[in-house]
């Protein structure tokens, strides 16, 4: 059984082919790193996998179930969670409220128009637990607008983890972080148990490499190299894509 499988996935925006016949097989519990220069189609690949974009051709399976035509919101219910490269949070709300919304998304309670949300103790407790996991519980009641960029990045991860995903897609979790913050986030990602499969896009090779079991190199929407950490780093094509000839 594969956690996430992608076959012959293609997507074009007008004449621009952003995803070109991509094949991907991620085993359960694997840490997969997707690298590639700017414009390689990494985030587009994520948007296709999560269903925010529909592919022109190809198929996607989540634990051997075909989800190619499954609505994006339903993929969350099937155990897929993602973070965004550009912070996509609820700025007017507190950190706690952000985490609560993540939990509410998978709860039938989300349709309830009369219960008092702040009195749903199990949700509130679970939200605190999710924040504790990323070390933000002590500022849970702080409005998101008053938090630092590094804290926002951690809220992104907390919201994805709060949903107890089977497959977690992280879009540049280290982007824009200071050295200290990188170390914190790296520790956080290392602490995620192996029953969660992680696919991660990252530019920062130094930080991300040691987290990865296998690496996929994308260039102009195509998979150029795929293999273990050592294989990809040693491959001359990696050097070529990143450094030019």
């Amino acid at each position: 059984m594969t956690a996430l499988a992608v076959q012959g996935l293609s997507k074009s925006f007008g004449g621009l082919r952003v995803t070109a016949n991509v094949n991907l097989k991620v085993e359960p519990g694997e840490r997969r790193l997707i690298i590639g220069p700017n414009g390689a189609g990494k985030t587009t690949l994520f948007n296709l996998i999560t269903g925010e974009l529909l592919p022109d051709s190809g198929s996607i399976q989540l634990f051997d179930r075909d989800i190619t035509k499954v609505a994006s919101r339903k993929r969350a219910h099937l155990g897929m969670a993602r973070t965004y490269q550009i912070i996509t949070l609820f700025t007017h709300d507190t950190i706690l409220r952000n985490a609560t919304l993540a939990l509410l998304g998978l709860s039938p309670l989300r349709w309830n128009p009369y219960a008092a949300l702040h009195r749903q103790q199990h949700l509130v407790d679970a939200a605190h637990a999710a924040l504790k996991r990323v070390g933000l519980d002590h500022i849970a009641d702080r409005p998101l607008a008053e938090t630092s960029y590094g804290e926002k990045r951690r809220v992104e991860i907390a919201m994805a983890l709060a949903q107890n995903p089977k497959v977690l897609l992280l879009d540049e979790p280290f982007a824009g972080l200071s050295i200290d913050e990188r170390r914190d986030v790296r520790q956080l990602l290392t602490s995620i148990p192996r029953d969660v499969t992680i696919v991660m896009i990252e530019h920062d090779m130094d930080t991300a490499l040691e987290l990865a079991d296998r690496i996929t190199l994308l260039h102009f929407g195509e998979v150029i190299v795929e293999g273990t950490r050592a294989e990809v780093v040693a491959d001359p094509r990696t050097r070529e894509v990143y450094l030019g000839e």
Partner: protein, 326 residues
């Protein structure tokens, strides 16, 4: 919590006392108008404030409920049937509005609702066999719930107040509910909400229906208050006026639309008796609100009173230095 309970009790007692404080029927009627327009504005605010969807066609939905009552009464049905049917018809039209308008957001949403509102106005104006066109429809009597006559200004005010309190309570419960939280989420980050597993379209549809329900209730109260309905009630200026109530009072707040409704109704009815160019005054007031309190009267006053409080309570205290980490 207790303080809030006391504040609510005082507010309700004050509203009950209004007809005794202002004994003139004319002013009691204006108070009734404020309350029924406040229900309308509360309904519109669900969309504008909490869903982030600005509707310029809500007077159409308001008018549909009014016309439904008036027409059914003319056809000889009783008040109970007319009111219940008007609610159902109002909700059906709301569902149609929502299904068409929710294909878009932002400016396109505004334009679709505007167009739909204008279609309803056009029907009211031109479908003369049904609506009597520009001559409108008269409503002969007000209902008598539990045998209580609502013909006097005071009795009608009390009835409107009961409906108003229920509407405010329902809205307060709705916005604090998980569904209300989800709705605000779709306003701020629809993409993230979708990725978190929320059905963004369905949430907006549900909010539209609740908004339409409050609007229909207000429309029913209006037609009984006015005992007459004409196409003007559905026209674009009426939709714009409701939107002004929401925005001037404070969109996305519970009290804002109520304050906004009071402001607009008072200027239209009371100030216009003394100031010939009251329209100009209304415009000037809105400009002042936009300049000094762009977030609306209720949040704006809260902000200003906070800063006034700070200015009065003397020089700023020096914050203690952050405690050193252990």
């Amino acid at each position: 919590m207790i303080a809030r309970g006391i504040a609510i009790a005082i507010a309700i007692l004050a509203l009950i006392a209004v007809p005794y404080a202002i004994t003139e029927a004319y002013y009691v009627n204006i108070a009734s108008q404020i309350l029924l327009y406040a229900i309308f504005a509360l309904g519109l605010n669900i969309l504008v404030g909490y869903a982030g969807l600005v509707s310029l066609g809500h007077a159409g939905l308001f008018g549909v409920a009014s016309y439904a009552v008036a027409s059914l009464l003319v056809l000889g049905y009783g008040h109970t049937v007319a009111i219940l049917a008007a609610l159902v018809i109002g909700l059906l039209f709301t569902a149609g509005f929502a299904a068409l308008a929710l294909r878009a957001t932002g400016i396109s949403f505004i334009m679709i609702t505007l167009a739909l509102g204008e279609i309803l106005w056009g029907l009211a104006y031109r479908w003369i066999s049904l609506t009597n066109g520009d001559n409108g429809v008269n409503v002969a009597t007000r209902p008598m719930p539990f045998g209580i006559a609502l013909s006097s200004a005071n009795a009608f005010y009390d009835m409107t107040l009961i409906v108003f309190v229920v509407a405010v309570a329902a809205t307060a419960i709705f916005v604090r509910s998980p569904f209300g939280a989800a709705l605000a989420g779709t306003r701020d980050q629809p993409r993230r909400m979708n990725a978190l597993g929320f059905h963004v379209w369905m949430i907006r549809f549900g909010a539209f229906m609740f908004s339409g329900l409050l609007t229909a209730v207000a429309g029913i109260l209006y037609v009984y208050y006015n005992r007459f309905i004409s196409p003007q009630t559905l026209a674009l200026p009426a939709s714009a006026e409701a939107l002004l109530m929401v925005i001037s009072g404070g969109a996305g707040t519970l009290l804002g639309p109520i304050v906004g409704a009071a402001l607009v109704v008072v200027i239209k009815n009371v100030v216009s008796a003394y100031v010939v160019r009251w329209n100009f005054m209304l415009g000037a007031i809105f400009v002042a609100i936009v300049v000094f309190m762009p977030e609306g009267l209720v949040p704006g006053m809260a902000r200003l009173s906070r800063s006034a409080w700070r200015a009065m309570s003397g020089p700023k205290k020096v914050l203690p230095a952050a405690e050193p980490k252990p």
